[in-house]
Symmetry: C2
Subunit: 215 residues, 2 copies
């Protein structure tokens, strides 16, 4: 199935033309971003917590300390929403009403499941680690038993999902074009700076190739 | 009052040393970021939606189309959570368990109120517009009556809030130091690219000063 079926909960209503249900496009957004914002309800109060994630096929993995309040809530199988957002540009219009952002965001609704199988848990942690930098799992020390026990890993099936995407220039009405102000798009992206080596780095270790963060 | 009083809902429990309640520091995070993720519950399902915002004193402003599902939900005075996250770096450790991000995030809990007073609404829209680029409101066409009527603006009082901040190097155990892999921090920030002028830009308009996006 190459597209998600929009549900009343995931169908994009405002600016319906920005709604994206194509699986490949949604996965490319998930693979490009670094963190998601997870929404859940505890004691009647909604919380939104930023957290790392990884994706393998149609599964999103989340993790955290086993004692973590969010993880414990999510592991109970409550309804959650995981949202991933990339800001692509500032849309500078000539009218305040038309100021906007270019962005790509994905919303996933569902229930998470605590992963208990050790092999599955290790594979999910590998996915989470390599999401940030491809191949990182293969060069660092894997978790020992104590570290594994202290970590909870959750799987959120990606079954009810949609994206919303805005791109392109400001949408000023023609009557506003003569206004003497700069209008257009200022692209933005997350950029890496100069790496700061750890104090205890072994001598002779080559620099990290920053292309490994590229998407 | 220079600090927020942590409540059972906003006190940082995991990595309590990363909890920040200082008002000035929390506001500086809010003033630096560009979007927030708003969590609310509709028909029993939590949703997390990325949206623009502005801050004036101890008030956060949100806005959107008056017909927008989220705005209509929020205007009913439901419990919401507004979360703002800045990613500052990738923390590359020698152990998978110690991989991390440097980040600054703010969580605000409360109920939003629909702004109906016209002057207050205009001031809030000015705050929202100038949050992205200082002075932008003063150079663009302000909303006309029809545009104002099509826009809902909400105020979320910043009364129950906290931040969580991680900074600094990886926290590998000394036993892992000899591992022959690069470790340290790769700083990241949102960077602007080459502006793309609108097709209908008037001739002779000077380029936008990108420093105006700087924080």
């Amino acid at each position: 199935m190459n597209s998600f079926t929009p549900t009343p909960r995931t169908r994009v209503v405002r600016h319906a033309e920005r709604g994206v249900y194509d699986r490949e496009q949604i996965y490319s957004i998930l693979d490009e971003a670094f963190i998601c914002h997870v929404g859940f309800v505890a004691d009647g109060q909604p919380y939104v917590i930023p957290t790392a994630y990884g994706r393998a096929d149609d599964r999103l993995y989340l993790h955290g300390a086993a004692a973590n309040r969010m993880l414990r809530s999510l592991a109970q199988g409550v309804d959650i929403c995981a949202t991933v957002t990339l800001i692509d540009g500032f849309v500078m219009a000539r009218a305040a009403f038309r100021q906007s952002f270019n962005y790509r965001s994905v919303v996933i609704l569902g229930k998470a499941r605590l992963i208990t199988d050790p092999a599955e848990k290790t594979a999910a942690l590998r996915c989470l680690t390599n999401h940030v930098v491809a191949g990182r799992w293969e060069e660092v020390r894997p978790p020992d038993e104590k570290e594994l026990a202290a970590t909870s890993v959750l799987e959120l099936p990606i079954t009810e999902a949609s994206a919303k995407v805005r791109s392109g220039p400001p949408l000023d009405a023609e009557a506003d074009w003569p206004r003497p102000v700069w209008a257009g798009v200022v692209p933005v992206e997350l950029a890496t700076g100069e790496p700061v080596p750890d104090t205890h780095l072994l001598p002779g270790i080559p620099d990290l190739n920053l292309d490994r963060f590229g998407r």
